[in-house]
Amino acid sequence: MTLVIAGLLAILSITGLGVVLTRDPRRQTLAMAANGLVLSALFLALQAPDVAFSEIVIGSAALPLFFFVALSSLRADREHK
């Protein structure tokens, strides 16, 4: 189990770095979703399944949707002016 947690922490550091280093907002949103997915796997490995449930839906479905909608809304507004 320690090995699984160590592996997940290593992957999390990579996906977290990915979120910071991605410059394009749309790609960054997807990077954030990937980070949320790894984070929920880590919560599961740390025996917190209740938190993992919330994180997997909020982190990799709800939050990316809200970001995509906001980005799309911003691009659409620019067209009017």
């Binding site: 399944p49 209740d50 449930f53 919330s54 479905a61 949707l65 909608v69 799309s72 809304s73």
Partner: protein, 252 residues
């Protein structure tokens, strides 16, 4: 401030901060260290006094039920704020067509996305309802199950497209469901007071451990939270998605 000065300032500040960070990290307790007695007490008394096997739900909806009532109304207030702000500024008349965005290819959803959405939406919905109903037995609860139901309805959006989806996720239905969910929690807490008990005190029959009716008041207020969370998140998604729609045919 030029780039050079900024770099120098960063190095100086980093050199000052590093010893503090190292000292702080070296003083951390070991991984998995748990000093407090509270969790152990809950684990020991949860099953005998409340007939539940998921202690997280026990803490959320019974031992610290009043805190969850507060959280419930934080969500309620946020959703109400978003709906008032967006629906008020936008008005009601909107078509289901997406706004046109320059330089964006307008391709329909691929068959793979539609197929995956149609296949996964009902399974996910069923699983979300399962998670809500088994809150006091297995991991999960009203909040977790509610957001899974929300995810299932989003998958239906991917499967069926927006014009069908906004008929399913209708704002009146969502508003009523959310109010009903919050109402179940508040009134479920008030009922014990009519029998001389305290607010949210668990005086209902506790039932048989490991069945979905066990836990007395817990499954009832948990179900209210499930309704309110699913409808609340869907309201936010609906209001935000409506922002990306073209205005109705009257040319406004």
């Amino acid at each position: 401030m030029s780039r050079h000065i900024r770099s120098v300032a960063f190095v100086v500040m980093a050199l000052i901060l590093v010893p503090f960070i190292v000292a702080g990290l070296s003083g951390l307790p070991a991984f998995g260290n748990y000093p407090g007695p509270y969790g152990d007490i809950i684990n020991a008394i949860g099953t005998p006094v409340r007939h539940i096997t998921n202690m997280v739900t026990g803490v959320n909806y019974d031992f610290r039920g009043l805190d969850t009532l507060g959280e419930e109304f934080i969500l309620f207030a946020s959703v109400t704020g978003i709906v008032m702000l967006l629906r008020g500024a936008r008005g009601e008349a909107k078509s289901a067509d997406a706004l046109r965005i320059e330089h964006r290819r307008r391709e329909g959803r691929s068959e793979a996305v539609m197929g995956a959405g149609r296949l996964l939406a009902p399974i996910t919905l069923l699983y979300g309802i399962y998670v809500v109903l088994h809150a006091q037995i297995t991991p999960g609860g009203g909040f977790q199950g509610g957001v899974i139901v929300f995810g299932a309805v989003l998958l239906a959006y991917l499967g069926e497209g927006y014009s069908v989806w906004r008929h399913v996720a209708h704002s009146t239905v969502l508003d009523l469901t959310e109010a009903l969910g919050a109402g179940i929690y508040v009134i479920g807490g008030l009922i014990p007071m009519f029998f001389g008990a305290r607010y949210l005190q668990n005086i209902l029959p506790l039932g048989e451990t490991k069945t979905i009716t066990s836990g007395g008041l817990i499954p009832i207020i948990n179900f209210g939270v499930g309704l309110a969370v699913a409808a609340g998140f869907l309201s936010i998604a609906l209001e935000l998605l409506e922002e990306t729609r073209a205005t109705g045919g009257d040319g406004s």
